[in-house]
């Protein structure tokens, strides 16, 4: 062994340490990958050795390599090994490596639970600290669930260093395991008053983070935080609190009024920019929340301005402005020039922010001006991303709120046309849809639009050159459609028809070609119709011939859609040509092919169609298909799908259902598979993407002027002239105007929101925006559902509601499987404190030190009992007396839960401290009438480390401690943890009980090893467990008629009891009985009440309680007389004590 050690350290001398590795990597710049792969081989060798120092060194090097981007997940198990080293030096390295490379999908994380728990309860605070730090990086839902209780215990650790970390990490635990929030919250709240400022600030941090996501649940904490805000001088804490208030004010405007003053004070006094910024943000939030109540805040906004300018950082100033903009647009609009200047900034993020602001700043008056400036920027902009951003912003700005700010659509169309000249933009599609939208919805502009579009079509630049990521040719889609649909406005349809059928068109993407062909047919129809009645039929014949000549090119197209349309229309034209030769008038018939007007449909229209009565969308139409169908899922294509449906309608129906079902099953499987990394919610949505056919794009290498195009500037000038003219005329025609305006407002355009002067700007011509169509009886609800995958949503819980038992944190149970199978059983367990029977010499010496081990909180699923068992170095003789005292004190505590707490009694399970529940209330359920679960919290009050704890109870005939199979009836159970000083932990034990009619007292001992600095001693602690009869009862509600029937039945035997000198009010008395003995009130009339309860083995217990002149008479009936007798005895005891 010794030889091995020596050998190990000699080996180590030859090993590379981290420094060598770093140096090596730096000196092998050329062949880094090769060098590192040789290093990794070495590391693999090192990891195979037994020496933990060598392993730790290897893991340390791996951590470095991980940072350089090499995969080290294969070493995860070795990392766990190093983590579990007992030496801090190595443990630290292990946890560091784990925090760097573990993630939710790392499977060895499962192995770490016990190690982490051990480290958390380590006597060395740095071990605990390092474990907490590591855990904060890789905590998984499983770890969070298993360790929540341990971490919660650490929140009350004696060392602020640990408390602070424990408090902070709770936030991560909440995120991963939201069920832990409610039980842990009271203790978290307690930490706001922690004497250590670090712990306090940590608690503020966590609560603020929680409150930001779900502010409503934290409103009740506002006064507390207000106090903290006015008293704290720590800027870090202040920022968090102020941020929290920013989240709370929208919910409680009164809070806002209170905040304004202290916040303005802070704004004026603080020198910290970060605090100032936070204050400004919250003041804005306050103003927003107040804006409904108080109309004029220009003064406070002015204050704000001076200070936002003090924020030398333009970016944050812009950010703040955009927040003000939402509620006070007017006050921001005056800063338009400043914002426009920011567009020249070198920094892209500042420019983008400024753009966002502009979006909200435009009005009818300044829209054209702003857009003109933007167009200049578009020309100047370098880098396509920014240019694309500008482009979308221009379109957003113009099209916002249903084109509210556009007064001249001719100008807008020409802006759109100008934008088509943009080199290499990604947004051809966007421009196209704008063109379509405007042309369809603004009837008055159609003529102009058609002319512009015809020029676009005629212009070959857009066709010329095709590149990889140019989508500008999408515009032609719109142009072709507009020309075809509104062909009546065309000046020279034949020319346009010719333009649309040029051979070069065949280089366009399929879907655009298809549109070209279809609209060529429309144009043809228009030509025929236009020439109708004229004697000269040459044009008609020429255009027919043109189509017949050009279309065959498209009939050969590889694109199905193009081919089909082309061949169909070709045949049609041939037929028409025949008719023309016979001089038949066909114009009307052909036009009829394309008759009918197109109206826009609202985007949500489909969704709003109500489901008719009696239609169940989830019901199967056919029987669910069998499993045996083809395995692989085919992408669903629109056209293919439709064709199939025609051919075999029944079969495809099944197919779709089957696909949906499989998709669902697969999702389910993925959700349950811990190794599956889930895709982000957005990417899941488009799982059946069918809309997009790949588009071959066209490259536009040189930006060209579109010849023959009117520029938007022209319209800008025209518009200005027009406005001036109108202003002159306005004096004269005041009355007429009014009428006009009324008319306009009837057409769905809003006029009331702009500044007053804006009202006077009339649109250039009558603009008719066709409103979108909605289905009849559409549902009006505007549903903006929350994202169901939002991780913070789970934390939206009511924190003020008292805790239910099912919500308590899972505590590591002694025999977890057992508990899972038979959840919780009954029986009250009381623990009677006892003095030690034995004392060692050692103890005597340590007389002053007073080692105490406390057994606190006997806990059952439905409640808990608090008990103390003190071990102290007192003399044996005093035992009896001391025992009694203790018991009394305990009782007091149980019944009064007053402040009468002994000095040594300190750790409570935080969940319960503030609860109005009785501490000794233990109830079971009916699932297993013969089991009792006892949960005990062990707290180490001494300054030494306690380990190897063994819990043993002397079984009685009736009650037995359940021991693992194979162990003898007198073996103790090992408590599965160790206790560092000041730490408490909880263990569960299961007892089987045969008869419940008698109370039980069980004697037990706890043995453990006390490890002091230099020595360790074996110690023993005796205690008693008291199972009362009341604790076998379960509060069961009962209706008065059932109760009456019960009383009438002959099975119940009666008895009665009389309590003298009870000075309690009657309702207190009842409450007390219900509370301590698990009864429920069936009926109450004046000072008389009937109560009912049921035992875990199904015995009925009925009480009739009468109260008169300080005397209580209880008549009781039960089918088990001895149980009843004992219960009554216990009730009597309860009242004799109080």
């Amino acid at each position: 062994m010794a030889l091995k050690m020596v050998k190990g350290s000699i080996d180590r001398i030859f090993d590379k340490n981290l420094q060598d590795l770093v140096r090596g990597v730096r000196s092998h710049r050329e062949d880094e990958a090769k060098y590192i792969s040789s290093c990794i081989d070495e590391i693999k060798q090192e990891l195979k050795q037994d020496n933990i120092a060598v392993k730790a060194n290897a893991v340390c090097k791996l951590t470095y390599l991980q940072m350089l981007g090499y995969d080290i997940s294969w070493a995860a198990f070795n990392i766990v090994e190093v983590m579990s080293s007992s030496k801090f030096t190595y443990k630290r390295i292990g946890y560091l490596a784990a925090s760097q490379c573990f993630h939710d999908g790392t499977d060895v994380i499962m192995l770490t639970t016990n190690q982490i728990r051990k480290d958390l309860s380590s006597p060395n605070q740095y071990d605990t600290g390092v474990a907490l730090t590591g855990l904060s990086c890789f905590v998984t839902p499983d770890l969070a669930r298993d360790l929540a209780n341990d971490i919660m215990t650490l929140m009350s650790h004696t060392k602020p260093y640990i408390r602070k970390k424990a408090v902070l990490i709770m936030y991560k635990v909440f995120l991963k395991y939201p069920e832990s929030l409610r039980p842990a919250f009271p203790r978290l709240k307690e930490k706001l008053d922690d004497p250590d400022p670090g712990v306090q600030s940590a608690a503020v941090n966590v609560i603020c983070e929680l409150a930001r996501r779900n502010p409503r649940n934290y409103l009740s904490l506002a006064p507390l935080f207000f106090k903290l805000m006015t008293s704290s001088t720590n800027n870090w804490v202040l920022i968090k609190i102020i941020k929290l208030f920013g989240a709370l004010t929208p919910l409680e405007p009164r809070l806002g009024k209170k905040l304004i003053e202290p916040l303005t004070n802070l704004i004026h006094s603080t020198s910290a920019m970060s605090l100032l910024y936070e204050c400004v943000n919250t003041v804005i939030a306050v103003l927003i929340s107040l804006s409904s109540g108080m109309p004029n805040h220009s003064a406070s906004i002015q204050v704000l301005y001076t200070h936002t300018h003090r924020l030398f950082l333009k970016y944050l100033g812009l950010l703040a402005m955009s927040k003000i903009l939402k509620t006070h647009p007017k006050s921001v609009q005056s800063h338009k020039d400043l914002v426009l200047q920011c567009l020249d900034d070198k920094d892209e993020s500042i420019r983008l922010r400024a753009l966002d602001l502009l979006y909200g700043m435009v009005s009818k008056k300044n829209l054209m001006e702003i857009v003109k400036k933007l167009m200049v920027h578009v020309d100047k902009a370098e880098g396509t991303t920014y240019r694309d951003e500008l482009l979308t912003k221009i379109i957003d700005i113009c099209s916002q709120s249903n084109y509210q700010y556009i007064t001249n659509f001719e100008w807008y169309i020409s802006i759109l046309v100008e934008l088509t000249r943009l080199e290499g933009t990604r947004h051809g599609h966007l421009i196209a849809s704008q063109m379509l939208d405007v042309a369809v919805r603004v009837k008055a502009i159609r003529g102009f639009a058609v002319v512009q579009m015809a020029t676009l079509l005629d212009n070959t630049t857009l066709l010329a050159g095709s590149g990889q990521h140019k989508s500008i040719c999408e515009v032609l889609y719109a142009a072709a459609w507009i020309c075809g649909e509104f062909s009546e406005h065309l000046e020279d349809p034949v020319h346009t028809l010719e333009a649309m059928l040029r051979p070069k068109v065949a280089t366009l993407p399929g879907h655009i070609q298809a549109i070209y062909i279809q609209n060529a047919a429309k144009l043809f129809a228009a030509v025929l119709n236009g020439q109708q009645g004229t004697p000269d039929c040459q044009t008609m014949q020429e255009s027919s011939q043109l189509l017949i000549d050009r279309l065959p090119l498209f009939v050969q197209s590889a694109d199905l859609e193009v081919q089909e349309r082309a061949s169909c229309i070709l045949q049609l034209v041939k037929f028409i040509q025949k008719l023309q030769h016979k001089e038949v008038e066909v114009g009307e018939e052909v036009t009829a092919l394309f008759a009918g007007e197109l109206n826009p449909v609202a985007p949500k229209a489909q969704k709003k169609v109500p489901v008719p009565d009696g239609l169940d969308l989830d019901a199967w139409i056919n029987e669910p298909p069998s499993e045996s169908e083809s395995e692989d899922e085919k992408p669903v294509a629109v056209f293919a799908e439709e064709e199939l449906r025609h051919a075999r309608p029944h079969h495809t129906e099944v197919d779709e259902k089957e696909l949906a079902r499989r998709r669902e099953a697969r999702k389910q499987e993925q959700a349950n598979n811990p190794f599956y990394i889930k895709a982000s919610p957005t990417s899941q949505k488009d799982s059946t993407g069918v809309e997009h056919i790949p588009v071959v794009q066209i490259d536009l290498s040189v930006p060209l002027k579109v010849p023959g195009m009117s520029t938007s500037d022209k319209y800008l000038k025209l518009e200005e002239e027009r406005r001036q003219r109108e202003r002159k005329e306005r004096g004269k025609k005041e009355k007429k105007k009014k009428k006009k305006r009324e008319k306009r407002s009837g057409m769905g355009r809003r006029h009331d929101s702009g500044p007053e002067s804006e009202e006077d700007i009339a649109p250039a011509h009558m603009v008719d925006i066709v409103t979108e169509e909605m289905p009849e009886n559409a549902l009006s609800s505007d549903d903006d559902e929350k994202d169901p995958n939002d991780p913070y949503r789970a934390l939206d819980v009511d924190l003020d509601k008292p805790l239910a038992d099912s919500e308590k944190l899972p505590v590591r149970a002694h025999r977890p499987t057992n508990i899972l199978k038979s959840p919780a059983d009954d029986g009250e367990v009381q623990e009677v404190p006892k003095e030690p029977k034995k004392k060692s010499k050692k103890e005597k010496r340590d007389k002053e030190e007073e080692r105490k081990v406390r057994l606190l909180w006997l806990r059952c699923p439905n409640g808990e009992i608090q008990c103390t068992c003190t071990k102290s170095s007192k003399h044996k003789k005093k035992k009896q007396k001391k025992d009694k005292e203790k018991e009394e004190k305990k009782r007091k505590k149980q019944h009064g839960h007053s402040g009468d707490r002994e000095g040594e009694e300190s750790v409570q399970n935080g969940t319960l401290e503030e609860e109005p529940l009785p501490v000794c209330d233990i109830q079971g359920n009916l699932q297993n009438g013969s089991q009792v679960v006892v949960s005990i919290i062990f707290e180490n009050k001494s300054t030494s480390f306690l380990k190897s704890m063994e819990f043993n109870v002397l079984d009685s005939l009736n009650s037995k401690l359940q021991r693992p199979e194979g162990s003898g009836p007198h073996d103790g159970l090992t408590v599965p943890f160790q206790l560092p000083p000041g730490v408490s932990n909880e263990a569960r034990f299961i007892f089987s009980v045969q008869s419940i009619v008698m109370p039980q007292r069980l004697k037990g001992t706890l043995t453990f090893i006390v490890k002091a600095d230099d020595s360790s001693t074996h110690e023993k602690l005796d205690f008693k467990l008291h199972f009362t009869c009341s604790s076998y009862l379960i509060t069961t509600p009962c209706y008065s008629d059932t109760f009456a029937k019960l009383l009438e039945s002959a099975d119940l035997k009666g008895t009665s009891v009389r309590l003298q000198e009870v000075s309690l009010p009657f309702h207190h008395l009842l409450a007390k009985i219900c509370f301590h003995h698990h009864f429920s009130v069936v009926e109450r009339i004046d000072s008389c009440a009937s109560l009912y309860s049921r035992s875990i083995q199904g015995h009925h217990v009925c009480l009739l309680v009468k109260y008169a002149h300080q005397t209580v008479t209880i008549d009781a009936k039960c089918d088990e007389s001895s149980l009843l007798g004992n219960v009554l005895e216990e009730i009597k005891k309860t009242f004799s004590q109080s």
Binding site: S9, L18, V22, R26, C60, T63, Q66, M67, L68, G69, D71, S73, K87, F88, T89, R92, I93, L96, S99, Q100, F102, H103, D104, G105, N124, Y126, V130, L132, T133, S136, C137, V139, T140, K164, K165, L168, I169, Y171, G198, S201, A202, N205, V206, E209, R212, N234, W236, I239, K243, M273, S274, Y277, N281, L313, L316, K346, S349, I350, L352, I677
Partner: protein, 149 residues
């Protein structure tokens, strides 16, 4: 805070700390993207930029870039302060820190960061306390180290 990255002007990563669990692949992708974006920025540009749905706050100290990702509602300026505080801590610990200190003692740099931030939140605002904790932990390491050698 979601994560913190330290990288050199050459784009070499010097330290990375993730407060959200991500797979190595994602981490690498994000790192590569961010390093490129930040390095491409000119010195006079502001220290904040929007990236995906996060805000990036970065600052350059000598040849090193310190770069943090925060959420939408977080305070950019306090993040700058956190970065500065961390640099001060490194400075105090190493005694006028330079890039090489961090390269060769990268684990120490992590330990200091872990004492200062936990789970992405500042856990200790007092410089003195952070350094004290580190010194004591180091002491523990030294003593044990010597003992076992």
């Amino acid at each position: 805070m979601q994560f913190m990255l330290l990288f050199s002007r050459q784009g070499k990563l010097r330290l990375q700390k993730w407060y959200v669990p991500l797979s190595d692949k994602e981490k690498k992708k994000i790192t590569r993207e961010l390093v490129q974006t930040v390095l491409a920025r000119k010195p006079k540009m502001c220290s904040f930029l929007e990236w995906r749905d996060l805000k990036i706050v970065y600052k350059r100290y000598a040849s090193l870039y310190f770069c943090c990702a925060i959420e939408d509602q977080d305070n950019e300026l306090i993040t700058l302060e956190i970065i500065h505080r961390y640099v001060e801590l490194l400075d105090k610990y190493f005694g006028s820190v330079c890039e090489l200190d961090i390269i060769f003692n990268f684990e120490k740099a992590y330990f200091i960061l872990d004492e200062f931030l936990l789970g992405g939140e500042a856990q200790e605002t007092s410089k003195k306390n952070v350094l004290k904790a580190i010194e004591q932990a180091d002491l523990l390491q030294e003593v044990r180290h010597n003992y076992f050698l």
